[in-house]
């Protein structure tokens, strides 16, 4: 009974001034929609970062020359690693599944009158498995070709398209430094990873790359794939460190002349970055929800002022402070709750529209609406109704009945 009366009076009061109520509800709708869509954008971005980072291999360890200084990795300070180091890692460390030495350098690739500048990587045949690459067509080179310094190349899809357009590259030859290389395979595309494009590259056997293209006898990195056992990455990293210190004859009190980077650390970093981003975006949405709440407070104050006589009458016939407080809180929660529900719909709609709109604009955004974020937004919007409705409602409840009855 009490509730029916509350609902009727509350709805009447809100419907009596439809435009004003609509504007207040709109404030909440926009706020909640902003929270939902921003959280969805954050979660989507976090997921896509994680997907991309993981696609490089979660069990990947990268050994690079140079010291891990206070300001991060200082690479290139000393070129101390050799293919023998890579072989030793493969042979002596338990828990290692695959190893590949890596050398690289930017090179011009030519096919008749077309040419493209790309990174040429000298790697072992295991590199594709380590880095989660797959062959789209053709084949990978084998260890026999590596041993005899075969002039064969596997191209990234972008590189292949740059040189061959829609023609079949496999079986053709491209020129690197004026020397012919037989294209034996093309990689499947992975998508841009932000800091480097794995689709634009050429892979050749490391032996060929070192002797005939780059002319180096030191390697740039050793890529190691661990067997993925629980805590295995850290064990393998420690073993590699001990092995290389020994091989490089580093005295006990000196720093490493190399560093081992564990990919799972990067994944953790990416995940925490994604979470930070989500919080940041969610807070931006939260600010608009706050503004919506202030809008509610504004109309509730106006409503209380307009209904002073009503409040006076209610108090005269026996309404306690609690009754009046409940009445006005109910109304503000009604506004914020309706706004919240509609805001969820709009927010989900916006979250679904963002990737499509971004594609139209040529960029790539993904969004992910999580059930948690909907509950959060609904809860917060009701909370906003209580928080911003409380002061006006308290003001109404505290009105002096004598003054209120006399109010014109």
């Amino acid at each position: 009974m009490m509730f029916r009366m509350l609902a009727k009076v509350g709805l009447n009061a809100l419907l009596a001034n439809k435009l004003r109520t609509f504007l207040a509800v709109l404030g909440i709708i926009i706020g909640v929609a902003a929270v939902i869509s921003m959280l969805a954008l954050g979660a989507g971005t976090r997921d896509s970062i994680l997907r991309r980072v993981s696609s490089m291999g979660a069990d990947l360890l990268i050994v690079r020359p140079g010291q891990a200084g206070r300001r991060g990795i200082m690479s290139g300070t000393a070129q101390t690693m050799t293919t023998d180091d890579a072989l030793a890692v493969a042979a002596e460390i338990p828990g290692v599944r695959l190893v590949s030495p890596v050398v690289s350098g930017g090179q011009q690739l030519k096919y008749y009158n077309k040419n493209t500048f790309t990174q040429v990587y000298g790697v072992a045949s295991s590199y594709l498995a380590i880095r989660n690459f797959e062959i789209a067509h053709g084949r990978n080179f084998n260890d026999f070709e590596t041993e005899r310094l075969a002039r064969v190349a596997v191209l990234g899809p972008t590189t292949a398209e740059n040189l061959f357009g829609k023609d079949e590259p496999v079986g053709e030859t491209v020129k690197i430094k004026g020397v012919n290389y037989l294209v034996i395979g093309v990689l499947k595309g992975k998508g841009d990873q932000g800091w480097s494009d794995p689709d634009d590259q050429a892979l050749v056997p490391f032996s060929t790359a070192m002797k005939q293209i780059l002319g180096v006898n030191r390697i740039r990195e050793i890529d190691v794939l661990s067997d993925g056992a629980e805590g295995g990455n850290a064990r393998v990293a420690a073993a590699i460190e001990a092995l290389l210190r020994d091989r490089h004859r580093i005295p006990a009190n000196a720093e490493n002349d190399f560093n081992v980077r564990d990919q799972s650390e990067i994944i953790d970093m990416a995940a925490s970055f994604g979470t930070t981003l989500t919080i940041l975006l969610g807070s931006l949405g939260g600010i608009s929800l706050l503004v919506g709440g202030i809008g509610i407070m504004n109309i509730m104050l106006v409503t209380v002022a307009e209904r002073t006589r009503e409040i006076g009458l209610r108090k005269a016939i026996g309404a306690r402070e609690r009754d009046i407080l409940t009445q006005f809180l109910f109304e503000s929660i009604l506004v914020s709750g309706c706004g919240g529900a509609l805001g969820v719909l709009l927010g989900v709609g916006v979250a679904l529209a963002i990737p499509a709109l971004a594609r139209l604009g040529g960029s790539d955004f993904s969004t992910l609406v999580e059930a948690d974020s909907i509950l959060l937004a609904l809860g917060v919007s009701v909370g906003v109704g209580v928080f911003f409705g409380y002061y006006p409602a308290k003001r109404a409840a505290r009105l002096d009945p004598v003054e209120a009855l006399r109010y014109e």
């Binding site: 009974m1 009490m2 009366m5 009727k8 009076v9 009447n12 009596a16 006589r309 009503e310 006076g312 009458l313 209610r314 108090k315 005269a316 016939i317 026996g318 309404a319 306690r320 402070e321 609690r322 009754d323 002096d400 009945p401 004598v402 009855l405």
Partner: protein, 246 residues
């Protein structure tokens, strides 16, 4: 002897306006027995409104004692007073003070809702019937005429069977004919045993009380009982059927 409905002694209330003290109530004694019909009169600024607010438990006095229906209420405030008002007083105001967009019945139910009555409908319908509005129960208050609105307000005042019905200038917003009807209604309710106090500045309305309390400068001016007979004749001339016998 029965407990008086109003037993107020030495009521005092002082306002401070711009550094000046105004003694709105300067030691007023009021005693109203059950079943009385009393007119409180006085010029504007006499303290009459303050007396009405204090007697109506809308405000508490600075000093003095006030027993309403046997309960000491002078020192109560806030929600305690609200509860007293809810149980013991039915108000009728000059400006009707009905809630718009609620039906007549819902308006009358309101005091019972605040009293926590589970099903206030039958009582509200009975009260509306008593004031002659059984055919208007489901009309919203803004669809009613002034006289009908004031009847709804009277029904709201009597629905909880309060010890006291307190009417503040109940005819002030009505034309003389509907005003007279409302006064006749009060008279009839009084004849049924209701205790009614009407606060007015209008001497014509004041004549209507069976006893008069005249307030001036925050004090009560005593009046003889000649007025009583006068008022009965006056009421009877308005509506002999409703007025009943004094």
């Amino acid at each position: 002897m029965a407990i008086p409905v109003i037993d107020a002694r030495n009521l005092r209330k002082t306002y401070r306006v711009g550094g000046q003290e105004i003694r709105a109530l300067d030691g007023i004694d009021v005693r109203v027995e059950a079943g009385e019909l009393i007119a409180v009169t006085g010029a504007s600024g006499s303290g009459k409104s303050t007396l009405m607010q204090v007697l109506g438990c809308l405000d508490h006095p600075d000093g003095g004692e006030y027993f309403l229906d046997g309960e000491e209420v002078a020192k109560l405030s806030g929600d305690r007073l609200a509860s007293i008002r809810n149980r013991k007083i039915g108000f009728v105001f000059q400006g009707f003070h009905l809630l718009p967009r609620l039906t007549a019945r819902e308006n009358v139910e309101l005091p019972l809702v605040y009293a926590g009555v589970a099903n206030p409908r039958p009582a509200a319908e009975a009260a509306l019937e008593r004031v002659g509005l059984s055919d208007r129960m489901n009309n919203e208050s803004n669809q009613l005429s002034g006289g009908q609105r004031q009847r709804v307000a009277v029904a709201r005042a009597l629905v909880g069977s309060p010890a006291l019905i307190l009417a503040d200038e109940p005819t002030g917003n009505l034309d003389s004919r509907t005003g007279a009807e409302i006064l006749a209604l009060f008279h009839a309710l009084n004849a049924e045993g209701r205790t009614i106090v009407i606060v007015t500045h209008d001497p014509e309305v004041a004549k209507f009380g069976r006893r008069r309390i005249h307030v001036s400068d925050g004090k009560v001016i005593p009046e003889d009982f000649v007025a009583k007979r006068e008022s009965t004749r006056f009421a009877a001339s308005l509506n002999p059927e409703l007025a009943g016998s004094p």
